[in-house]
Assembly symmetry: C2
Homo-oligomer: 213 residues x 2
């Protein structure tokens, strides 16, 4: 529905949002005009869980596409969490996974070279969207400009373009406009050293039995 900023750095925030449809990204200024993308949110993600704990936001949240968002007053989330511990626990899991993704981004930007960085970024996006399961020929749409991919990976748009071309030349991906097809998923995953462990798929800690009886 909305487009543009959902949250602004420095804001006092009193809502938690659920992204019903579309894509958003978190962004921080480095203090000299450069912007770094620090997170990505896809349909179903909860945005701004930290508002439950921190009075002001330290980063912007912006829409990448047209989005559909449910904004829930903080007090409602607090009441819900208090009365339904299982929901509080689920929010905690969500937050912990987002934190794990941030750690992996630090590794990606800090330790990998350009090619592996872009490859890893593509892998993560695909797995998070479940796109890699679907018909490979169909591919998926990456709703970001090369400039934005650069801001997420700590590279310039020019270099992102080079790396995408290299991945294509290596027969790992096919592309047209923003559509990406994995011609060789295994190969791409190997280049990126991608493992989905940090996304913590599968089981998490079950909600402890709060004996309120």
């Amino acid at each position: 529905m909305a487009s543009g900023y959902l949250v602004r750095q420095g804001d006092r925030c009193d809502t938690v949002s659920v992204l019903l449809d579309g894509y958003c990204y978190g962004q921080k200024d480095d203090g000299e005009g450069n912007c770094q993308i620090v997170s990505l949110a896809i349909s179903g993600d909860v945005i701004g869980l930290e508002h439950l704990y921190l009075l002001t936001t330290d980063h912007n949240v912006r829409a990448l596409t047209t989005v559909d968002v449910a904004m829930i007053p903080l007090s409602a989330v607090q009441q819900l969490s208090a009365s339904r511990p299982a929901i509080a626990h689920a929010l905690g899991i969500h937050q912990a996974i987002n934190h794990a993704i941030a750690r992996e981004w630090i590794v990606n930007i800090g330790a990998r070279d350009g090619l592996r960085r872009v490859a890893h970024f593509l892998c993560e996006f695909a797995v998070r969207c479940d796109a890699w399961r679907s018909d490979t020929a169909a591919g998926y749409e990456l709703p970001m400009s090369q400039e934005q991919i650069g801001q997420a990976t700590g590279l310039t748009a020019v270099h992102v373009n080079r790396m995408l071309k290299t991945l294509h030349a290596a027969g790992l991906i096919e592309r047209s406009w923003r559509n990406v097809v994995f011609s060789n998923w295994e190969g791409l995953r190997d280049v990126a050293c991608f493992s989905s462990d940090y996304l913590h798929p599968g089981r998490q800690v079950p909600a402890p039995g709060y004996r309120t009886v």
Copy 2:
């Protein structure tokens, strides 16, 4: 007390630790032998809060110095959180701040050049340790080798050395061995574009009134 690993990547973890004394760091492998430092813990920090939510760990936690750690069984933390909502809330705040620090590290590594990266790292460490308040002449001890600073900032040890020398030449810091003195705190902060906002000092969201009566 202990030295070496506190937690290993892939472990099933059933304790939460409180770092009573010393320094620890979080570390992840990039899949090709390079190690990236993804977090730092100082005295008073709680380590492994994500174990409340995730069954396995996605990163190592290692001691940087001799450390004194209290390891608390997960079940005890769960019980404490259930019976004392204010404590659960405090843990949430702690976790949210750690997440905010991770975001800032992404910005630091992804958007800043070597000099500003190292400067920012020094600023963050100093502020987190409160060292910048104390007698500037005394300085503080940074318990990391230049190799480790490099792993935290995404640079090589050689380049960290160059940057430290440059910061010294600019009259911003003095050093001898691992002792760092801020000869010009304002100057260093400006170079780094450091603002402590992301550490969320001061007030956070007060614990909501859980009416259990």
